[in-house]
């Protein structure tokens, strides 16, 4: 039961994030995409 609730919550979260993304303006979407490309490098950038 707990597993099902967790899965449902996870799905709801993903659906919510997707809905927010697609309802955002073009400009905001570009900003989110830009951040998505940069964030993986932050741990390395912190070190240099």
């Amino acid at each position: 039961m707990k597993k099902k609730i967790r899965a449902a919550l996870g799905l709801a979260l993903i659906a919510g994030a997707a809905a927010a993304y697609f309802s955002a303006s073009e400009s905001t979407r570009r900003y989110i995409k830009h951040l998505g490309r940069q964030v993986p490098y932050l741990p390395y950038r912190y070190l240099i």
Partner: protein, 501 residues
Amino acid sequence: MADYDAIVIGAGLGGISTGALCAKNGFKTVILEQSDLIGGCCSTYERDGYKFDIGASIVEITQPMERVFELLGKRREDYIDLVPCDPIYSFITEDGRKFSYPTDIDETTKVIEQIAPEDVEGWKAFSDMGMEMIEKMMDAVMLSPLNSIPEALAMVAKNPRVVKYAPLFLRTHQAVVRKYYKNPVIQGSVAFQSYFAGAPPELGSGIFGFIALSEHLGIFYPKGGMISIPQGIINAASDFGLEVRTNTKVENIIVEGGKAVGVRLEDGTEMRSRFVVSNLNAKVTYLKLVRPENLPKWALKAISSYEVSMPCPMIYVGLDARPDLDAHHTVVTGSIDAMNDVWNNYYKKGVIPRTAMSLICWPTEADPSLAPEGHHVLNFLCNAPAPYAPLGDNWDRIKDWYREAALDELEKYVLPDVRDHITIMDVSTPLDFERRLLSPQGGIYGLFSDMTTLALFRPHARSRAIKNLYLTGSSTHLGGGVPTTLASGVITSSYILKDHG
């Protein structure tokens, strides 16, 4: 045995302020500059009696400069004569409307009231909050090392009120502007400064939204041209034995056992030192001077991940008549959407934008001695990024075309008869900037600046990849600009003193 305590590569403002403060603290210091001019982007060259500023056109937020002189134990007024410029900007919109922002906040309120009464309350809220923030954050963020989480925590513990302003780093420039202003003309007048940090309003950090406000503390032009700032610092440090060599190009940094121990010059000469400071772009420092084989893999991944800042061609013009302008800076501006459009649909696609967006600097208004009597100088900056590699072409080939196209825009929007009065003209393309400043792709602000490349995430002043290597200038915290690169000199020298003092 080391020839010097400190070898500084590059005589930009970061290199000169770091070098001067090293010399003041008893380190035997030499600055090596590959070109024939000091100052990097903050410099001035002379041709046929006219003096043209290469890049930087003004100094705002003078505290870092005052701090450099204070640390040198000298009075800034004895070395640099700053002329206040008021109004800050004269604006021309694409549909021909003209207005100016004076330095005085209350006078600016009257201007906004005439253009957009609905934005007066927003302006008051913006200026009240912003002035308090600038005052609180000046020492905390601008002049403090911010290279690690412990340093950031120490800064917050010392200045707890800065937490209130932290969300501004996470928001975008345009979000901050739109929160306070509704009128597109007013929005445009405080949004174009995001390009001063090298990013469009939709990507730049919200903290840059306050650049426009900081200018109301006063903007100043140094008599003799922008080169007077680096020259003034060198003169002030001459008592401490600071040595500056121009036309001296460094081929690489000598690394032994993971430590920087000196430099090798282009002619093969080796110079040894206790530590090395690089004022070059961090990508050039690590990838060309230190070289990949001397870097740990993580450092290679980190430095390769940064994008360089945008390039911006400049046109330098001598005139035989007084231009019909109202201020040191005239800005042809557009809407926030137009500014983003230039970035997304032109710059990122390798297309040179045909846009009115531009910044015209008129330095002879503040200092007539920069041109022969009765003549004037204009430095014309297309305030929109231009691609380093235009589609299917290169800048050396299209330089003349670009100059004429830019003059067309200048004639159309600002000075209808400018061509009749031109006595001399030069163009500096992204390729020229790259050759002169060793700045990759001609980027004029070091590295691209947004929330993922600021403070903790910008290349650190004290390298963690190479021992005894220090970085300064626009690639480090807080990025490109006159006050910020001077601040980087204060920060970098504080690390050096801690490590070697």
